[in-house]
Every structure is written in structure tokens, then in C-alpha cells.
């Protein structure tokens, strides 16, 4: 059993079944992609993991612990971090403050510490600041810490989102379309960066992605979703040659060209 296991997860919104009896097993220290057309239920599944949505049926286990019924902050404390499809930074806070917020669950200081600025709190804050600077260096944002997050260029905002997610020391990182809106060069950089996260930090990566070049280039396992259900799973090569995927997800004809071009 891997680090994260979903078993027959179903999430409905009124009459619409967004995720239907979805099974997935993520191996530790792997890069695992979920692909599928728009509205296939990928982000909904992410939200089920994080605790934003409560699935009606099925269960999700993280390192053997059930996630059902836990709120997002509890899930984060267990060691799952995430980024968002449409970047959601704390826009009016500085870059380094964004990272410091990410460090929140690892810090202890309470109201009394804050008011009296106890030595414990001062030490903790200094360490947090150092850690935040280190994370900014890691993602390549050194020296930009005092800018407001909303003033960063697009690519940097994506990096900051990752740095913020890393701050809580996750063992599993959920990336929701990390290369959306990026040009080929930025995309290649992001791919390298995702590999580094796994290789240097040992983090398991689960990503939703639309760009086939990325999916086929970095994933070890690909899960294909359509109408909330898993229709295929395997290595990138297997997926590329899977007739069900080609027919059901990519349609016939021209779309299969796109699939191969990723190789």
C-alpha cells in the first residue's frame, strides 16, 4: 500500500456525481499524474483529500490514517500540502509572509508569547524567518521576499505557491496544474523543479496536468479520469497506447496525434 490510497471515493453535488467510486494508490516517492478532460473530477478529488469536501462514500487513507472527517488544517498538519489551479496566494502580504503563514502549523507561539515577546517566541520567529529565507532560495525567489505577492510575475507566483506549500513540511504534495499558462521554457523549468522536489526532498508528488509533454515527461504513473471514474492507469507508455484512453478521453483521430507528440 502506498502513501495515499483512495478506495471507492464518491462525491456528489446534488444530482451530479463529480467523483464516482474512484480508486487510486500513490506510491511513496513517486510522481503520479491524474489526467482527464475538464470537469472529469480531478480537482474535486483533490478537495476531497484536503478535507474541503466530504465524500459521500469510500475512504481515503494517508499513511494508513483515514482522512475522512478531518478539516483542511488537520489534513495539512498530517503532511499534505497543495497548490491551486488558479494561483491563490495571500496577495496583499509580502512574499516572505506568505511562506511564514505556510510555516504556521510548525510554530507554537500563542497570544501570551506574542504580547510579551518571550524569548521562546523570539527564537522561534528567528528560526522561522531563516527557514522561510531558505525556502525562498530553494525555489529561486531569494531577494524578492519583501515584495507584495501580487506584484510578482506569474512564474514566480507559482514558485511562491510551492514554497508556501513546502513550508508545512509535507510528505505528499498535490499540485493542481502547476504549468498552466506557462511558456515552453518555464514549463521545462517547472518539470525540473518538480523532479528536484522528489529527488532532493523525498516528497511524493500527485499532480493534475493538462500538458501532455509534462505528464509523459515526468510521471511514473498516470491515472486517467473521465466523468468522475478511473478509466485507465499505467506508465506513460501504457497510457499512450491504451485504446480506451485514446478513444474515450482523447476522442478519435487528431487527438491521438497530440498524445504521441508528448513523447
Amino acid at each position: 500500500m502506498g502513501i495515499l490510497t483512495a478506495h471507492k471515493v464518491t462525491k456528489r453535488f446534488g444530482g451530479l456525481t463529480a467523483v464516482h467510486r474512484f480508486d487510486v494508490d500513490i506510491k511513496e516517492r513517486s510522481i503520479h499524474s491524474i489526467i482527464g478532460p475538464n470537469g472529469a473530477g480531478k480537482t474535486t478529488f483533490f478537495n476531497c483529500i484536503m478535507g474541503f469536501y466530504r465524500p459521500e462514500e469510500g475512504e481515503i487513507l494517508f499513511q494508513g490514517l483515514p482522512l475522512n472527517g478531518r478539516s483542511p488544517d488537520q489534513v495539512t498538519r498530517l503532511g499534505i500540502g497543495r497548490t491551486y489551479q488558479n494561483i491563490r496566494l495571500f496577495a496583499n502580504m509580502t512574499v516572505i509572509e506568505n511562506v511564514l503563514v505556510g510555516l504556521h502549523p510548525r510554530l507554537r507561539a500563542g497570544v501570551v508569547d506574542a504580547i510579551f515577546r518571550t524569548s521562546r517566541m523570539r527564537k522561534e520567529e528567528a528560526e522561522a524567518l531563516e527557514e522561510a529565507r531558505r525556502l525562498l532560495r530553494f525555489v529561486g525567489l531569494a531577494g524578492k521576499g519583501d515584495l507584495l505577492a501580487r506584484n510578482l510575475p506569474y512564474g514566480d507566483q507559482r514558485r511562491l505557491e510551492v514554497a508556501r506549500a513546502l513550508a508545512s513540511k509535507p510528505t505528499l504534495l498535490l499540485l493542481d496544474e502547476p504549468t498552466a499558462g506557462m511558456n515552453p521554457r518555464e514549463t521545462a523549468e517547472m518539470m525540473d523543479f518538480i523532479r528536484r522536489l522528489r529527488d532532493e526532498l523525498g516528497i511524493t508528488i500527485l499532480l493534475i496536468e493538462h500538458q501532455m509533454r509534462v505528464v509523459m515527461g515526468i510521471s511514473e504513473t498516470v491515472t486517467v479520469m473521465d466523468f468522475g471514474e478511473k478509466i485507465a492507469e499505467g506508465t506513460p507508455a501504457e497510457i499512450q497506447n491504451n485504446p480506451t484512453v485514446i478513444e474515450a478521453y482523447l476522442g478519435r483521430g487528431s487527438a491521438s496525434e497530440m498524445l504521441r507528440s508528448g513523447n
Binding site: 491563490r88 502580504m93 509572509e97 502549523p105 507561539a109 506574542a114 504580547i115 522561510a132 519583501d146 507584495l148
Partner: protein, 542 residues
């Protein structure tokens, strides 16, 4: 990019017309006439005239500023434009005078009195006066335009000097039974303020000067100097007498409330419109515990003994009222908290609790605070109590803001969902915001009760919540100096300008609209701390 500041007659016309309409409006609603009795400079300039003068100055300044080309300098064109704008503004007023001469406007506009026309025509009669007004408009415009010819630093000095004269004059006349400044005093104030401002900006410029940087000791001395002047003003203020202290006490109560509400709304982004509830709880707890009128609750406490209970009570209810609204956001939260505020007022007003807390009769005979041998009965002594309260509250607010909790509040304000996904416990974080906000408000209420020696349900009207909210909006959301600035602007100024009592809401509304349009970030917006690149005393401890 070339210099595009070509002459365009439409701009000064537009600006001038707008200025003229504003001048006409404040004249016709009666503000000018009402403030006519208050002199600014004895036998030369009344407050009413000053108001009109300010409209002219702003109009001309706007016209001058809009003439700025890409080269940056205003130039002669600015003078021409400013003069034209002044002329147009005058023309609108002359139009009013002429129309008023033909038809009786008073049937509809009750304030269009002969006195007003007299004032507008400088007492020279319709014909000559109109011409004089036009000339005056041009003259004022040209003067403002010429000021804009000056380089930035002296221009600022002149602005500060000119701005300070009416402020001092208003304070002066409030203090000395409506006497104005003499021309000489006004001139001295102008020169002194302008001179000081100029010197200060010279010093300030040297801080960032690469060739001749100010020594670190010098910079520190500047800092200290600024704090010393501010501290001296703050400490010595009550020497001005009873009335200004009274005004400042009211400002202080709102500063306290504003600091608390600023935590809830400004830091945590929870729009609370029922904030008066905690003010009321603080005040009533103080009353119930100290007034000899209340017989059902054991021995009477002194102010100091009751104070912690008042604050605790408000804090407790901050949490209790916070729990049901945990899941609400934005407008829903605002409506529900608005309801809570009213509920508290109706509960204290109710006949049901009348035997215990006095119902509509309220609680009276609340003792004044006594500190050792001194009774803090006068506004002057009470001022120091409030000052201490504000300093404490401000200190706590600053400390909380610069902490892990403060960051969590801010993150919650920016994006609640993401904040939660960052591991922030929303329940705890929100309740802490409500509780600390309520504590400050409870403190304010407790002091309020013993200041008035009585509490009545009608003191806890929903308008108190709205006023506190306006204080932090005008001051700048989330900014602690902003709260103080906002309280002075919205609570202090109207107290000093009693003539405007009738126009209070009018001015309030106009000020808010202006703020939202011109300076949506507030008078003294919150500044972000620099963390990454600051030279930390602790930064090396890796």
C-alpha cells in the same frame, strides 16, 4: 514621450465648474453662514470664508496639478490653468448671486439669505462685489499656481504652513471662547510651520543621500526628536484646559474601540457591525459592579477592582457571540453581528431585566476612578487614564499583529480557504480575533461608564458601531496609527467644529465618499514590514 502639456481650456473649465458647484453647495446648505460666527483671523477671515477659500485653493491646486506634463514641471501653464479654474469657480458663485438677485431663491433654498450674498460679494454690493469676487478667484488661482512653480520642498513647506493656520485657529477659538488669531499670530504660525517643515525635509533628504549621508547617530537623534515632540504634545495636552481634554477623552474612547475593531475587521477581515455590544457589556459590567444603586450583587467594587471583570465579561461574550457566526463570511456575518448589537441594546432596555440593571432608567451614580489620593474626576485627569489604556491597547495590537497569530489573521482575511489549508485552525483564530477585539471595546465601555458616571441603553446605539467602523476605514484598515488619525478626524474634529453639528452626517458622508475615491487605503495606510532583507539582530542565528 513628448511634453503633452498643451493648453486645453476644457480642463480648467471642468475643474473650476466642479469647484464652483461644491462652493455653491456648501453655501446653500448653510455651512458657510453657520460657521460665519467663528473667526479664524480676527476681523479679517471667518471660518465660513475659510471654507470657501479652501474650495478655491483645492480647485486651483487640482487644475495646476493636472497641467503637469511628462517633463514633470508645472510651468506657466499651471498658473494660467489655476487662474482660469479660480475664475470659473468665482463665476459660478457670481451666477448664484445674480440669480438670487432676480428670483427669490429662499422659497426653496432657505439658506440663500441676503447675508450669504453679502458674504459672497465681500460686502461690496451686487455689482462691484461680483467683479471683486471674480478678481479674487483669479488672484487665488494664480497664487496657488505660483506656489506650484516652486520646487517640491518649499512647496510642501508652504502647504504645511498654510494648512496649519486654520487648524490652530480652530483649536484656538474653541479654547478661548471664539476669539480668532491675530494677523500677526497667524503669520508667525505660518512662517514657523513652513520653516520647520522645510528644515525637517532637508534633514530627511539627507538620510537617503548617498554623497553626504547622515550619520547613524544623527538618524537616531531624528527619530528620538520626533518621538520626544510627539510625546510632549501628548502628555502636555490637558494643560490646554477642560474642553479640549473632554474632546480628547471622547477621541480616546474611540481610539480604544477602533483598536479593537481593527483587529476584528482590519486584521482578520471579519466585518462586525455589532461591535457596540461589547462596549455596552463593558459599561454595564462596570455599572453593575460599582454603582450603589445595584443592591442584588454583593459589595460594591471600586473602579479598579471592577475593570478586569468588565474586560473579561466583554471578552467572554466576544467568544460566545463569535461561536454562532464561525461559518459566516462577508455580508452574512455583517448582518448577523448587526443583529447581535441590537439584541444587547434591547436586552438592557427590557423591562424583564429592569430590577437588575435599571431598564430605560439605566444605572447612575457610578463612581469615578480614584488613583491613590487623586480622583480622576476631571476630563484632564481622565485623559491620562485613557492615554494609558490606549497605549496598552496599541502595544498589544502591535505585538499581536507582528506575530504568528497576526499572520494567521491576515491570511484569513486574504483567503479563508487557503489559510485553512495552510494548517490554520479557523475556529481558534477567529475566536481569538473576536475575543481580543471585544476586550478593547469592553475596556473602552468601562471607562465610558465611569466617565459619565452613568449608563443608559440609548448610549449603545448601532451608530456607535458604524462610527467605530468609519474610524478605521478613514484611518486605514489594519493600520494602528490609522485608527488614531481616524478617531481624531471623525470624533475630534466634529467636537471642535460645533457649528457643524447640524451638518455632521453630511460632512461624514462627504468625507467617506472622498476617502473612498481619493485615498481608499485610508489616511495612514498600513505599511508592510520588511522581513527578508532587513538587517536582523537575530538573523545570524542559523
Amino acid at each position: 514621450m513628448g511634453n503633452v502639456s498643451r493648453f486645453d481650456w476644457r480642463m480648467p473649465l471642468k475643474v473650476g465648474l466642479l469647484g464652483g458647484l461644491i462652493a455653491m453647495l456648501i453655501a446653500l446648505v448653510g455651512m458657510v453662514e453657520a460657521s460665519q460666527v467663528r473667526p479664524v483671523i480676527t476681523s479679517l477671515l471667518s471660518l465660513g470664508q475659510t471654507l470657501l477659500l479652501l474650495v478655491f485653493v483645492f480647485t486651483a491646486a487640482t487644475a495646476a496639478r493636472r497641467s503637469v506634463g511628462h517633463e514633470g514641471s508645472v510651468g506657466l501653464l499651471g498658473v494660467i490653468n489655476a487662474g482660469l479654474a479660480g475664475l470659473v469657480t468665482s463665476a459660478v458663485l457670481v451666477g448664484l448671486v445674480l440669480v438670487g438677485g432676480l428670483i427669490n431663491l429662499r422659497a426653496v433654498l432657505i439658506r440663500a439669505s441676503p447675508e450669504l450674498y453679502d458674504l459672497l460679494t465681500l460686502g461690496l454690493g451686487r455689482g462691484r462685489g461680483s467683479l471683486a469676487l471674480l478678481a479674487l478667484g483669479v488672484l487665488l488661482g494664480v497664487i496657488v499656481g505660483v506656489v506650484y512653480l516652486l520646487p517640491a520642498r518649499p512647496r510642501r513647506a508652504v502647504t504645511v504652513g498654510a494648512g496649519l493656520v486654520p487648524v490652530v485657529a480652530i483649536l484656538w477659538s474653541a479654547l478661548f471662547a471664539g476669539r480668532g488669531l491675530s494677523l500677526l499670530t497667524a503669520a508667525i504660525i505660518f512662517v514657523a510651520a513652513a520653516g520647520l517643515s522645510y528644515l525637517w525635509s532637508l534633514l530627511q533628504a539627507r538620510v537617503g543621500d548617498k554623497d553626504r549621508p547622515l550619520s547613524l547617530a544623527g538618524q537616531r537623534a531624528m527619530q528620538w526628536g520626533r518621538w520626544a515632540v510627539l510625546g510632549a504634545i501628548v502628555v502636555l495636552f490637558p494643560l490646554l484646559g477642560k474642553f479640549p481634554s473632554e474632546v480628547l477623552d471622547n477621541v480616546g474612547l474611540y481610539v480604544l474601540m477602533g483598536l479593537g475593531l481593527n483587529i476584528v475587521v482590519g486584521f482578520a477581515g471579519l466585518l462586525d457591525l455589532g461591535y457596540v455590544a461589547f462596549f455596552a457589556l463593558g459599561a454595564y459590567t462596570m455599572g453593575i459592579l460599582t454603582s450603589p444603586e445595584i443592591g442584588w450583587l454583593g459589595p460594591r467594587l471600586t473602579f479598579w477592582e471592577a475593570l478586569p471583570f468588565a474586560v473579561l465579561m466583554a471578552t467572554l461574550w466576544g467568544v460566545i457571540l463569535g461561536i454562532p457566526v464561525l461559518g459566516m463570511r462577508g455580508d452574512y456575518l455583517a448582518i448577523v453581528t448587526l443583529g447581535f448589537g441590537e439584541i444587547i441594546r434591547l436586552v438592557v432596555l427590557s423591562d424583564w431585566l429592569k430590577p437588575y440593571i435599571g431598564g430605560s432608567n439605566g444605572i447612575t451614580r457610578i463612581p469615578k476612578p480614584v488613583l491613590g489620593p487623586i480622583s480622576l474626576a476631571t476630563p484632564q485627569t481622565l485623559y491620562y487614564l485613557l492615554l494609558a489604556g490606549c497605549l496598552l491597547a496599541g502595544f498589544i495590537a502591535i505585538r499581536l499583529k507582528d506575530s504568528r497569530l497576526g499572520r494567521a489573521w491576515m491570511a484569513m482575511r486574504e483567503d479563508e480557504d487557503v489559510a485553512q489549508a495552510m494548517g490554520i485552525d479557523l475556529v481558534k483564530t477567529k475566536l481569538l480575533a473576536f475575543a481580543s477585539g471585544a476586550a478593547f471595546s469592553g475596556l473602552s465601555g468601562a471607562i465610558f461608564a465611569s466617565k459619565l458616571t452613568s449608563v443608559y441603553p440609548h448610549s449603545f446605539h448601532v451608530l456607535v458601531s458604524i462610527n467605530a467602523l468609519c474610524v478605521i476605514i478613514v484611518g486605514g484598515m489594519g493600520s494602528i496609527p490609522g485608527v488614531i488619525a481616524g478617531a481624531f478626524a471623525l470624533v475630534g474634529l466634529p467636537e471642535l467644529l460645533r457649528e457643524f453639528a447640524e451638518y455632521r452626517l453630511w460632512v461624514y458622508g462627504a468625507a467617506l465618499v472622498m476617502m473612498m475615491l481619493r485615498r481608499p487605503e485610508g489616511l495612514m495606510p498600513e505599511a508592510r514590514r520588511r522581513l527578508e532583507l532587513r538587517e536582523t539582530e537575530t538573523g545570524s542565528s542559523t
